[in-house]
């Protein structure tokens, strides 16, 4: 259903049922994405609880080994393809049009189709739990030949459904990426040159360009794997002249950049939020913008570092070690920029700011273990061990998911029109920060000691750190309760939000909360200065004072 401008009603009165239908409003789609993503987040989290329940003791005693392998595979797949990508696309949908002053996305219907593919392939993936033989069990990498073994020999099997779902997810992401890139390039407000664009949009542009370049490789690789699995081809089967290592190149050619698709928008969130809650401009705005694209360029040429210990020659190991090391430089520029931003600021430790600071803490830690992993000799020892599992959970949960929580708390008032509760938010932060560190820090010593990842049982000498990790995981499981409580109760009966409760600078804060369907409509303001003008006294747009006065009057009258 598409809502029309007649009768002109404020969106909070619009029926909640629009969230359940085919709607082309980017703000509706954004919320659809986020809610669906958190639904799958709960499923993926439940699987994580089972994994950590199994690993709290050395023996494989909670579930059968086949079940364990299916569960860890689905945990990774769901968290990546059904949680983190959709939740980020939700934020893209909410933020990109409002931040650049566009009425909607460039291709609203394509946008809706891209979203509706998510529940479709999500259902397909979950359905694989119920086919004979169970779901895919070969890890989210699905390396052949393990992934093409198909023990029951059925044509409809978990691995086949998995590959179909991943291919559909790729199609959905490409549709989204075309939309986001076009919107950012073509639909910015008058006066908003590239170097007046908020950093979140820069990082979204960088991340979505990566999707366009990288995804075709994965999709092609996945289709060939599906052919090997179900149609008897041998692209990756050595007995038919194929090469299993070829798949690893296809897979990581996209799946390494995918890490940047995840983390770049989170860098964008940090860059948006640190200025607001420090009351200072972003330090070195231009460098931060450009660093994203340097990361894009380098991010495309590091993929082999995911399989240094595989069948790759020594020259590849050395070359890809150097390119990987180089990425630390633009990333460091960003970290220093955030430190420069908070330095001598006037900090307000609100819930979003706490999540940003906690996320930065975890990210710097992950960056250091990342450098260790980049150096081949250390990587040879710890690759495919829990050291890697710890490292990427610090990146993805510790930094990215915490950044996403920060974004949700920060922009919730804008798009829902109500304020989330600070007390619950801070409790959520505390449980998340402690839980994540307790869960993921012990994985590093485990990896250094030589505990391989993906094991359903392990030698007793690894028990101590595994118990700690499991306790941390259960704490993380609990941490989601205050979050859900906060979201639901704030949505239902939270205090009404003004148009700019955080006193933030940005086009989206010059819209009512929640914004009307076409955002600024005909009255798109003209941008006259760079973003983040905290303390400079320069207005962001022409006639800013009038716009704000009007919004305040409107709020006073309702």
């Amino acid at each position: 259903m598409t809502s029309t401008t007649f009768p002109p009603s404020p969106p909070e009165d619009a029926s909640w049922s629009r969230y359940f239908g085919f709607n082309t409003d980017a703000k509706v789609i954004g919320i659809q994405y986020i809610v669906v993503a958190f639904f799958f987040f709960l499923i993926g989290g439940l699987l994580a609880m089972i994994i950590r329940g199994e690993l709290i003791t050395p023996a494989a005693d909670l579930v059968d080994r086949t079940v364990y392998n299916g569960i860890y595979t689905m945990h990774g797949t769901i968290m990546l393809f059904l949680f983190i990508f959709p939740v980020l696309n939700g934020l893209n949908n909410l933020l990109i049009p409002t931040m650049i002053g566009a009425p909607d996305m460039a291709f609203p219907r394509l946008n809706a189709v891209a979203f509706w593919l998510v529940p479709i392939f999500g259902t397909l993936l979950i359905a694989s739990f119920f086919v004979p033989g169970g779901p895919a069990y070969s890890g989210w990498w699905s390396y052949p030949p393990v992934s093409t073994q198909n023990p029951l020999g059925h044509f409809v099997n978990g691995q086949g459904l998995w590959l179909t779902a991943v291919a559909l997810s790729g199609v959905s992401s490409i549709m989204g990426a075309v939309n986001f890139v076009t919107t950012i390039l073509r639909m910015r407000a008058p006066g908003m040159g590239f170097f007046r664009m908020p950093v979140f949009c820069w990082t979204a542009l960088a991340a979505q360009s990566l999707q366009l370049i990288g995804l075709p490789a994965l999709t092609g690789g996945a289709i060939m794997l599906l052919m090997d699995l179900n149609f008897g081809t041998s692209f990756y089967q050595p007995e038919g002249g194929g090469d299993p290592v070829l798949y690893q190149h296809f897979f990581w050619f996209y799946s390494h950049p995918a890490v940047y698709v995840i983390i770049l928008p989170v860098f964008g969130i940090f860059s948006e939020l640190f200025p607001v809650y420090s009351r200072k401009p972003l330090f070195g705005y231009v460098y931060v913008c450009l660093a994203s694209f340097i990361i894009v360029g380098l991010g495309l040429v590091v993929w082999v570092h995911h399989f240094f210990s595989s069948g790759v020659a020594q020259w590849m190991r050395n070359l890809f070690m150097f390119t990987t090391m180089l990425i630390a430089v633009p990333t460091g520029v960003k970290v220093f920029a955030w430190l420069g931003t908070i330095w001598r600021g006037k900090l307000r430790l609100t819930t979003p700011m706490l999540f940003c600071l906690g996320g930065l803490f975890n990210f710097v830690f992950a960056g250091i273990t990342g450098i260790m992993l980049a150096t081949v000799p250390v990587d040879i020892h710890v690759s495919n061990t829990y050291f890697v599992v710890g490292h990427f959970h610090y990146v993805i949960y510790g930094a990215a998911v915490m950044g996403i929580f920060a974004a949700i708390y920060h922009w919730f008032p804008k798009f829902i029109g109500r304020m989330p509760y600070e007390g619950l938010g801070k409790l959520h932060f505390l449980l998340t920060f402690v839980g994540a560190n307790l869960n993921f820090l012990p994985m590093h010593p485990l990896g250094l000691m030589g505990m391989p990842r993906r094991v359903s049982s392990y030698d007793p000498e690894f028990a101590f750190w595994n118990v700690l990790a499991s306790l941390g995981a259960f704490l993380l499981g609990v941490s989601i309760i205050p979050f859900l409580l906060n979201m639901v109760s704030a949505w239902v009966r939270g205090p009404k939000a003004t148009h700019n409760p955080w006193n933030a600078i940005g086009l989206e804060w010059l819209l009512p909360s929640p914004p009307p369907e076409d955002n600024f409509g005909e009255h798109v303001p003209t941008v006259i200065s760079r973003p983040y003008g905290y303390g400079t006294g320069e207005p962001l747009v022409d006639h800013q004072a009038e716009i704000e006065r009007e919004l305040t009057l409107q709020e006073a009258s309702t």
Binding site: R65, N69, P238, G340, V364
Partner: protein, 321 residues
């Protein structure tokens, strides 16, 4: 309140004069971080298993160095964050903005160039370690079905004095000593002698990983990969499959016994006299028990039969790492 006193690190952006006391405190703090980083670099060795190969000290040295540098960077970043969180908070009813510092080109250059030099230095260090490890020998494509026959065609000039053939399967490890005509499911190696493995897989990807040696190499079906190392410490260690290989991946472990050359030769001699018998495969035992269950779980590839070997050895004895 402290915004103007500047008793801290050199302020970013505008630069109010730093007091003498502040400078001393800053230098003291950096010195403390250096000491802490050095201490962490030493502690780092204790997080790793015993060093049982000539590769281990090199890898551990690199790891220790990275831990030291990493501690310093992490400590530095945390110090700034902690200082800001404690000292640069807005007063309760202060709604005003801070001083707008938009950037500083000189600082940008500094924090681009220094990390660049640092990571390149680490990369060069790591590449040198790579070269001195020299673990990777030639890699050739083979016909999977017949790895043994292929050995005959192996160029003689590249055949090392001591070569052990490692055959990985779902889910067992078999070690063959062609010269002595011995096969085993427990790997025996003489201490301080270079050994070359020829790694082959019968089915899927496996990972040949001995944490005490700090070395790992994936075993790729359809390839024979030469892999060199030198054990340096007598003892019993674990070999773990490190590349996910299916249902009993976690149980696909073997023991590695490093012993004196005399003991090794004696072991080979006794082993050669033993008749062939089924080797160790935890997967086969577990699969048998699982078949008895009414509801055994999801489908699995059945384990390959245990290899026929002279010495099954053990994988339940206490191990050093």
């Amino acid at each position: 309140m402290t915004n103007t006193s500047g008793r801290s690190k050199p302020p970013v952006g505008s630069r109010p004069a730093i007091s003498r006391l502040g400078l001393v405190a800053l230098i003291g703090w950096i010195a403390l971080l250096v000491v802490l980083s050095w201490w962490m670099s030493q502690v780092a060795y204790r997080w790793l298993p015993v060093q049982a190969s000539s590769a281990a000290p090199l890898v551990d040295g690199l790891f220790s160095f990275e831990t030291g540098v990493g501690t310093f960077v992490f400590g530095g970043v945390l110090s700034v964050m902690a200082w800001v969180i404690v000292m640069h908070r807005a007063e309760k009813y202060d709604e005003s903005d801070a001083e707008p510092i938009e950037g500083n080109t000189r600082l940008e250059v500094i924090w681009t160039v220094i990390p660049l030099l640092l990571v390149m230095a680490i990369a060069v260090y790591a590449m040198r370690v790579n070269t001195s490890l020299g673990v990777l020998g030639p890699m050739e494509h083979i016909h999977l079905a017949n790895p043994v026959e292929d050995q005959g065609g192996y160029p003689a000039d590249r055949l090392p004095a001591e070569q052990v053939e490692v055959i990985a399967r779902q889910w067992s490890w078999e070690f063959r000593y062609p010269e002595a005509n011995v096969s085993s499911t427990e790997l025996h190696l003489p201490v301080d002698q270079p050994v070359t493995f020829r790694l082959v897989s019968d089915d899927v990807l496996h990972g040949f990983y001995i944490p005490a040696f700090r070395l790992k190499q994936d075993v790729i079906p359809g390839r024979a990969i030469d892999f060199n190392l030198t054990p340096s410490r007598e003892g019993r260690y674990r070999l773990r499959d490190s590349q996910f290989s299916g249902t009993w991946f976690a149980a696909n472990q073997a023991d590695v016994v490093v012993e004196s050359p005399e003991a090794y030769q004696a072991w080979l001699k006794t082993a050669a006299a033993q008749p062939l018998q089924p080797g160790l495969s935890d997967a086969v035992a577990e699969f048998g028990a699982r078949q008895q269950l009414k509801n055994p779980g999801w489908a699995t590839v059945p384990p390959a039969p245990p290899p026929q070997v002279n010495v099954p050895g053990s994988n339940t004895l206490p191990h050093d790492a």
